[in-house]
Symmetry: D2
Subunit: 261 residues, 4 copies
């Protein structure tokens, strides 16, 4: 693409206002740190803006949506405060080609659930335990720049299987947790003309988005779900193709008045 990729980092931004611990870890909000990770790795190829739940229209006006190539989504405690109408618009933008990177507790966000068609349940535990995200897809662009075949995080919230998602089109990372569980922590799906990447790391009380490897994968993910230039636009609606491309032998009379889509 000759123009920069337009990325919108969407963030709930409620924990930072309420919890001293979160303020301490993310004094300027988690969104600023996620933004910096994307800019660090994609540099001049990208223009990143942020949008917050408590902005007007959650920061997601039609103009912003139209001008977004890739959106990242972090939410946790206030999924219910996202307006259904906005969530539907975000999901529809994905189907029409926008990339979406869903982070951590965004597994329960409205746009993600609308796109998955499942409940996205999981198990969880707060115990500051070790997580290792194992690369099960070497050679995948999302794993570029990783030095080892796993990412180790010293203190994390646990997410465990069964993770109630459709079987991913691509499974990139599987997590090991100290307490005994596993989790499909890096997953890609296509929906319509758009791609969704779910990436698990990101709890608000741990400094996860300062981790160099997490930052790298976040930026890689943004690049991976970015819409390619010049693809046939997504076709909304179900057109009636009255004129066949090849001849149809006359057989019987069709009473077209019977059918409407």
């Amino acid at each position: 693409m000759s123009r920069p990729l337009r990325v919108t980092v969407w963030h709930e931004h409620r924990h930072e206002k309420k919890h001293p611990k979160v303020q301490e870890v993310y004094p300027d909000g988690m969104h600023t740190v996620m933004k910096s990770a994307i800019e660090e790795h994609l540099g001049a190829d990208v223009e990143v803006r942020t949008a917050l739940l408590d902005d007007a229209d959650h920061g997601l006006s039609d103009d912003v949506l139209d001008e977004t190539d890739v959106m990242t989504w972090w939410g946790h405690a206030a999924h219910g405060d996202v307006k259904d109408e906005i969530a539907q618009k975000v999901a529809e933008r994905v189907r029409r080609g926008m990339g979406l990177v869903v982070l951590h507790s965004g597994h329960y966000s409205k746009p993600f659930k609308l796109l998955m068609g499942t409940n996205c349940h999981l198990k969880w535990r707060e115990a500051a335990e070790i997580e290792r995200l194992w690369n099960v897809s070497p050679g995948h662009p999302i794993t570029a720049g990783l030095e080892k075949d796993y990412i180790e995080l010293a203190e994390t919230e646990m997410y465990g299987e069964h993770f109630d998602i459709p079987d991913p089109d691509e499974l990139v990372f599987v997590s090991w947790f100290e307490g005994g569980e596993v989790f499909r922590s890096g997953c890609v799906w296509k929906r319509g003309a758009g791609k969704v990447f779910y990436f698990r790391p990101g709890h608000e009380t741990f400094p996860i988005y300062y981790n160099p490897e997490v930052r790298r994968v976040l930026a890689n993910g943004v690049g991976y779900v970015a819409p390619p230039a010049g693809v046939v636009p997504y076709r909304a609606g179900s057109p009636n193709i009255k004129e066949p491309l090849s001849p149809i032998a006359a057989t019987h009379e069709v009473d077209a008045s019977l059918h409407k889509h």
Copy 2:
């Protein structure tokens, strides 16, 4: 399963009331013919009931839903008349293990769209043209009993790509249409603990559900998406697993009050 499989054939049943042509093809309603196809092939292994849009609660009370192992769904002109609440319940039953066979224009039904996460758009044409459904998955249980590697239907409505669905977990049939299009006409997905089979044939003005091979595939599909006996029940909700299965080394204090799912 020692007890019979409990199947509910859901049908919109509006065309038959309005259009003489449809009445002529399906004088007792399409649902009776679909029911007979399932009974013809699954016999004593199955108990089939029917439920219609204009029944109370569309025939889908909580009791009926609870007692249904597999549902088949045919709708076309009145998708919007299906109550959102009922559509949500059907989708949720699938996630909890019920099988769902979606037929023909059911591609635009509310339960199917809720489960897919896409718009399910397609192309279409009314021209009474030849369709051949090619078997691209020989050995698949859904194709058992077919004598050839394709099913030929002499007069059909065309459905063409792009069919806006998630990539199927299993692609069983691909259709060829006389007028020049192709279509993924037999597709399987998992959602939660349940399976969905989309099968394209079934237009209301053509006697499709009398075709022996279509009947066979419809019954095979019901058998294929049936929930296996004795599987671990679907877990609704996201439990907090406070006690790890394996020991976690003490690291730092977690302030559990911060986090609620």
Copy 3:
């Protein structure tokens, strides 16, 4: 199927002859214990024979192959002693519809590698550590009869990612290991008209095949990859379809002598 399913349990059967520890765990050979697991759960629906590496033709004459619906395969130290010709025949039987259950160190067996198209490398460690196989596909027939959403084994050999296999068509189990690794330990692929199920448990010095849940999954796997009755037979070869099914408009002269497949 009205007749019983014909299962051949193939076993390398070398460790038992050499190592007192293995003799102690499996005094009559591992194959007898695997056979008993299948018979325990599938009972009268199944006829199980065994075949050993050191039998003539490894116990896999053409007659045995022709009469086998599902084969299970355990090998470890003597993969190289399996004749290429026999390995090719086993792979070809799978493509023509036979089910194959590959166990534990069978990941490096010739038939498995021929069917996968990859090197099937993995990591490993001998440390008698805990393994938990997490069910990531609730509702899957292979998991029927399991009481919990994981199987725990107290002492196992570790297998770790990256496991160099094609992305599975279905991922059923993911293992957690005490020492820090994960592994895709229950995987299904289709090849031709046949299915392959890889199931990790089974080390020779641990009494894994006496574990009730492992036995259950082994039997479930045999049932799952069994060829359905009445499917269109696999078509060997590439037929020239001289007569089109639909008319082709005359365009130019084709010099058929140019082309031979």
Copy 4:
């Protein structure tokens, strides 16, 4: 990648020497036309060399293989003349990260069959009939630059289902043929750290590789299977990880002498 992508166009190059018709269509060999298609679209980002069956080592010395990021493969009548050793090396290079684009009758080539694990049978017919390749994956990078949602070719050889391949990881094109068949004509698989793209068009007696849309997809395919910069190298072999990443509770004595991989 800062350096150009290194592409090797491998070609059988036998038909051109024997058949006046083929000489007429491809006077300088099909490989020169395929090379020009890649250069036309990837320009300075790519360095393309060609290698021919009748070159020493089929033009595929270890040095050439080591210096190839993406290989394209066209063969038809002389698959058997490709040395097994070379075919194995090509397949192994794919597993270690090289991209492979297999064209038309290359479906029966040794490297493709080694990587698929299936027989790759299909149906065929020489009748100069119309083919339409329908885009079933809008938004896919391989389809960038296409103006319509199908590619129409006026005169082609037919390839029909069942195409005996593993279910593709990504299905991009499905072909319609005038004579009545369909075919999965654009398919992607991962093998090890490398990607394989099969693209059907390309018969030697029709000027297929001059078609602008075919040329575009060929170049897109080369770009799509190119190895990303900086990914963790493919790990050949199965290392013994003696030192666990996390502590293992002492349980019993393991007699390590028993086990060798």
